[in-house]
Subunit: 360 residues, 2 copies
Amino acid sequence: MTRPRNDTFLRALLREPTEYTPIWLMRQAGRYLPEYCETRKRAGSFLQLCKNPAMACEVTLQPLARYDLDAAILFSDILTVPDAMGLGLYFTEGEGPRFERPLREEWAIRDLTAPDPYEHLRYVMDGVCEIRRALDNSVPLIGFSGSPYTLACYMVEGASSSDYRRIKTMIYERPDLMHRILAVTTDAVIAYINAQIESGAQAVMIFDSWGGGLSAAAYPEFSLQYMQRIVAGLIKEKDGERIPSIVFTKGGGLWLEAIAAIGCDAVGLDWTIDIGEARRRVGEQVALQGNLDPCVLFASPERIALEAKKVLDSYHRQGGSDSSHVFNLGHGISQFTPPEHVTALVETVHDYSKILHKSI
Amino acid sequence: MTRPRNDTFLRALLREPTEYTPIWLMRQAGRYLPEYCETRKRAGSFLQLCKNPAMACEVTLQPLARYDLDAAILFSDILTVPDAMGLGLYFTEGEGPRFERPLREEWAIRDLTAPDPYEHLRYVMDGVCEIRRALDNSVPLIGFSGSPYTLACYMVEGASSSDYRRIKTMIYERPDLMHRILAVTTDAVIAYINAQIESGAQAVMIFDSWGGGLSAAAYPEFSLQYMQRIVAGLIKEKDGERIPSIVFTKGGGLWLEAIAAIGCDAVGLDWTIDIGEARRRVGEQVALQGNLDPCVLFASPERIALEAKKVLDSYHRQGGSDSSHVFNLGHGISQFTPPEHVTALVETVHDYSKILHKSI
């Protein structure tokens, strides 16, 4: 494997020199793009879109056709893993994901097993292969998974939740059952991400969307330690190239030092932490990814440029190399984002960061 | 005014010696209590309950009849203030609060004025007087308000929001309009809380429920500076007794030092920060209130006792005085809490903290 022609994203993650700050956007293939909505409509449903490798490939590439992004990310959903574990994923209009068989009974938890990704998640691996072919080594492809705790939230609650009442009750009342779910899910995630790497993913990201809702004491025990196990279990190198990993706990700003210490190459940041402050706290041991408030994209292109520069400036002011920063939003892009506003963001990040990189 | 017979809560806020750690619970008069549900049913609706001083008094006292709590908190809703500003508050079953006339137009924002609390919020002041009479100087009464930013979220969005798209757009695109709303709301809140103090509130709390969703740069500008103005504008003493103030930004753990520096007597903490760590960061300049995960109350009484002790131990381990801690949940008590579990919590906090206080 040779590196893609534009390998700026990979270099930033590995803290190698870059000429500018690379950018991609969480959920960059999404509903804010009319072409995405059209493909999704053609697919019939969100889930059918996820399960169709050709269409998943099509939507993965859509944002790259519009914008000068430095990475592609596999189009899929984090809940395909619990679906493959037999929980029966389905989507209801306007209510988000649901499971037919949420994990509520002790026997079901004892029976839980990690699925073979090449069998039960074949469509994801087919998608990865197809996307890599279509990308033709232009930019790197990011593979991903939800964190065990985040997946467990959906598996136990059976749907999105506003209070995480069921999973929290399990954490406090039956930590043994909770750890059983998390251990099996960790095995599933390791096999799943490694299969993505074998199929062609050139960097990987773990999304811990709900870990930030845990108490300070529960986070390391029920979320972080399992992400650490995942990072330790991942394929580190493929065809002589390092496969960098990014770990992102939304709302995890208080625990940054602990996250940076689990062996990952980069830490994702939401917008509640100043990125310069984050860099000061973790030093040069990891790259940082983030962290513009996605709502900035609702403002005018001029304001977007201003706010993007603030993020770049804050990182730069901490001194040292600017080459360990991957620009991103602090959360997935909103479906209400005007597509032309993304152009302003990408151009500002590229142009302005070139100036900062030269000024070191 | 003389202090209530049980003034432990006030003493903890003022960092005076106490024999044990006082406890009250955010939303302690709420739906988890069957007697509350009965009164609410009799009132006809939540809003009618808020607007009826006799019934508001009745539900305020209900948790005190059941549990050995160290403070009462006025039963009301933070949105009575924007309602008094003419936005037309109403509640829809299962969907939460809504405003008939959300703030969307520039002219409406320019026309916004702070209401006279004795005129437009008379029912709140009547409630405060009635509760004070009914409490008969047993425990202190807490008055409260939402923070300007939190109130503005509802005023601009018109309802609860999952992404705060409208208010964030205003922050980034029209900060001048946002500041206008926040300035008028700040005046309204100062007058409102001071009227509560004049009517008999013996401590006050500002609830910044949504400030934690702001970026690191936006929080001081759009939430914290207005809470600072409020604290500066509050009546500090009544009849020779200091009226302590508590400021609580949910999700504000990253900004603790800044919050502790605005002149308030105490800072509220959610459950994502270790309270010992919080104490280490802010030192002895303020009291701290918090911070058990409300979901702990779903577990068994034995587990509840264990988790409550962890919070007390963590605070205690930082050394110095244990007398500057007010025990609370990190967020409002859930409607699904078994009422008898609260007994276990209150007893543990009182009994165990007495031992810790003696061991200094």
